[in-house]
Symmetry: C2
Subunit: 553 residues, 2 copies
């Protein structure tokens, strides 16, 4: 597992995956020809010299803390577009004053006590993959900021095979967690796009979305109990399969984003590798036919593991179709029996809406396909080919390409930043009745904002998750940026996007979390009284207001 | 729909279903012979005379309020055993001082304002079916208590066919709600045992459990948004299929039990009647084989609509088996395709654990069985034969008998009270690894408590809901009571039951809610810091503490 030193200081992922000259030239050529962007520059890449960070205002009196500039620089930002840009330019002004890396949970209460006394802000930090400013804290009004990195707490502490549950420490990353579970023949099967680097604690704190398109869409659906350290003490919920006793305490910690305390561990529901799988890629000439097919599938209570509808531009961007058709990537998995018939029935629904497909693929003991039972390691090589880490042995075909592309996408952001291309994604969820108008408005207004700010722009859409009552549309945007002005350009476009979601009463975020970027819109999304109530909860658990100030609340 | 006048003042359900002489003699004979209880008395039935209630301490200045003694008596209790007993003896000491029955939501804010000013406790009241003292408030420290009956607000206000969702007022009862949805060809498919009388608002406030044994086990799983009136103003969450934005505001209102405000409406996910169904009853010689089969089914991610494992005494009590075998009532339903193969695979799992069954029954367009498409009305006749209301056309066979018995059971409580039999049910949820020890301890300690208090006792168990990580066991207890001492005897036995659940870190309640009966145990179940945080939320939304004081918090 990575200790962090092998990661890029500024970009997504590993340092040796930072954009090469060839990557840059190829992508430059593609955005110029494919998207028609004006000629893009090859910006000067960041050097390896020591980063410039402000002088530390505080020095925590604990052996597990450091004020080393390199470490502080690496804990300054998440991995959103403005984060990558500022890192790219070596701007580490908002660096925390110190980084704490506790070796055991019992280190944390003392740190929080000290911070409460000294009025130092504490920013919980897992994989540092936030795209919403979740770990960036300037600490105005505080005597300093300490980033609390949980990654030493990375063990699977217990496995209950009878109940199929595991007790996991917050700092375990996706591959680290699954490597430990694989030794027990189990998997969590929660694969957010940040899977390689993000942590279990981060998933819980941000209600991370996984790869399941239905049913187990968020980490919420796997959590049995949570343990957190707050300034007012430890909070630990009971391990329960379910309960009807009062407002669910797990749901209060799920999505708490470090504002009440730091999540240190939890019990999660785990499962063996699925024995049967069926996959198909369905082509629709018209996006709206694909929408209707998807709606009918999910309303008929099909529960596909994968049900990603790619709009024509999204299919083009991922090089899966170039003729203007939309693609529905459909996958079923099962522990108990073949998925062949379910897939056939689902394809019949697609046919009713004009969908066409090549032969679906089936895997499983009865399907002639090899059943992969090998343990999934957590080593770096495997994490790099994360299709495997995501439980996918078969990486051929459209779905395989898609999955590789899914985990590779964040690496491409590094390259885009380095050639002056503004790139971002935003997502929401909305009921089916409102989706067409919302979608039209997003295209119109975000398109306008990109043209106004950047002179051009490209916007694509896919559904990442679908529900009986509505889809979770996910938008990717690309625009030619003016080097030096990227963050301001991004801010204007982001504002247009979030304002549009708000106007249609769609959610501010389906799985990217609130952080600082979405905070104002989140406050509009929830009832005023609930915001007041959350703030009063915070005052109870964090009387000095040291926990991740400015995020969420 | 019932206006309430045709309901029994003291017992479950309709007045004309109060126990007849024949009912009483038959049940008396059965408990004496079948359970070996000492001879039971035929206690004097309550008369129809005006109830005795204390003088009203307050008279709310609103046209929709009354201090009529009959109405006050009818709003004194829920329908737990101690409630029935006290009603049976005509003890209405804890009657509210007045009953408010607002005709529109806009009546409520003024009532709460007045109550806050006058320090009058407000107790939200739906169907009055609480078994945990949720509507019984003595109002110590308050100048009076007003029961806020929501049943005039009983309409389905909007139906969104595209998203399959409906906007429902809080006071709609199960049959009333489904009758209105049936006009649109839709159903909610949430059938708690209290379905005939309980209300949508009550379901949300108490996180009611429905008949689905897996997946959609609680009303929580159907709720898209909630609207509530609190003393600090209206709280309304956005209609969203899902969100990842902060701690879920719906989850804060789900289970709030009137402690923050009164729920007035919400959007719920609805669906058409299932087109395919398969049912089977599997017999196991040994209860623990049934437990293992059930665990394997749910861990293999089968999602049966019905998966009720009845222990040998439960099977006997329901007259479904008398030979000491346990029964698994297994049912699948589907909108999209036949359930025949799924049932076959599930039965194969049961066979691996020694299960035996007669031929399963299959319904659906392809199965030769009639597909019932008629609307489900909400009239009284139908509600009385609630098997139909619960969407079950086929009421033959073990499952049909079980379902009739399920909805009839509460009526039997009336009769048992009238012949000096203590009767109660309690439920929990616990992980599979802890279930055997918990079950043994419950049998031992609740058995001992019944013997000590009553000289004898009978305890049976079934699983009402099952999860991959654990079951929700539901216990029914019967004991010969000493007339006049029933409530004290019940209290001691209940204490033994709740203490045992607590000792094994099982939940205090899987779907009966917290109310006043479970409050102390609930406070032990949740983390201290969370209880403090909930109390601070309450102070924010209900500064004068008028909302259902003593329940939940």
């Amino acid at each position: 597992m990575s200790t962090g030193d092998d990661l890029s200081r500024w970009g997504w992922g590993y340092a040796d995956r930072e954009p090469s000259e060839a990557d840059r030239r190829e992508l430059k050529s593609r955005v110029e020809t494919m998207l028609g962007f004006p000629e893009r520059p090859l910006l000067e890449l960041p050097d390896d010299g020591a980063p410039t960070v402000p002088e530390s205002r505080v020095e925590p009196p604990f052996h597990f803390c450091t004020t080393d500039p390199e470490v502080r620089a690496r804990h300054t930002y998440g991995k959103g577009y403005p984060d990558l840009v500022r890192g790219f330019y070596g701007e580490y002004g908002p660096a925390p004053d110190a980084v704490a890396r506790p070796e055991r949970e019992s280190d944390i209460p003392d740190l929080l006590l000290w911070a409460s006394d000294e009025r130092v802000a504490i920013v919980p930090y897992g994989g540092g993959t936030s795209v919403v400013g979740g770990v960036e804290c300037r600490g105005a009004g505080y005597s300093g900021v300490v980033s609390l990195d949980t990654r030493e707490l990375d063990e699977v502490l217990e496995v209950d095979h009878t109940s199929r549950a595991a007790r996991v420490q917050a700092g375990a990353t996706g591959p680290g967690l699954n490597a430990q579970l694989a030794e027990e023949g189990l998997q969590l099967r929660h694969y957010p796009q940040s899977y390689e680097f993000s942590t279990f604690g981060g998933w819980v704190a941000t209600r991370a979305g996984g790869h399941f398109a239905t049913r187990y869409t968020h980490i919420d659906d796997f959590v049995e109990s949570v343990r957190a350290v707050t300034p007012a003490g430890v909070l630990e919920t009971r391990r329960l399969p379910a309960s009807g006793a009062g407002p669910d305490p797990n749901r209060f910690l799920l999505g708490s984003e470090g504002a009440f305390g730091v999540i240190t561990e939890g019990w999660v529901r785990v499962q063996p590798r699925p024995r049967h799988r069926s996959r198909a890629t369905v082509r629709f000439d018209d996006f709206w036919d694909g929408v209707e097919a998807t709606r009918e599938l999910v309303q008929a209570r099909f529960s596909p593991a994968n049900c990603r509808l790619l709009g024509p531009r999204e299919a083009m961007l991922n090089e899966l179709a170039a003729d203007g058709s939309s693609l529905l990537l459909l996958g079923f998995e099962s522990l108990d029996g073949p998925t062949v018939e379910t897939m056939e029935r689902a394809l019949a629904v697609c046919a009713d809406h004009g969908g066409e497909w090549d032969d679906p693929t089936h895997e499983g003991p009865d399907a002639g396909g090899a059943e992969a039972n090998g343990p999934e390691g957590g080593g770096r090589e495997e994490a790099q080919t994360s299709g495997e880490s995501a439980g996918d042995d078969d990486r051929t075909g459209t779905e395989g390409e898609w999955r590789n592309s899914f985990f590779e996408a964040p690496y491409r952001f590094n390259t885009l930043v380095s050639i002056g291309v503004l790139v971002d994604t935003f997502e929401t969820a909305v009921t089916w009745d409102r989706f067409p108008d919302l979608h039209e408005a997003v295209r119109e207004r975000v398109g306008t904002a990109m043209r106004e700010e950047c002179g051009a722009g490209f916007l694509s859409c896919r559904f990442t998750h679908v529900y009986p009552d509505g889809p979770a549309p996910y938008y990717t945007l690309l625009a030619p940026a003016d080097p030096g002005d990227e963050v301001e350009q991004w801010r204007a476009i982001k504002q247009a996007a979030s304002d549009t979601l708000d106007e249609f009463d769609a959610t501010t975020t389906h799985h990217h979390a609130v952080g600082r970027v979405h905070r104002d819109h989140y406050h509009r999304e929830i009832p005023d009284g609930y915001l007041d109530a959350l703030r009063s909860m915070k005052r109870t658990l964090d009387p000095e207001g040291i926990m991740n100030p400015g995020a969420l609340l």
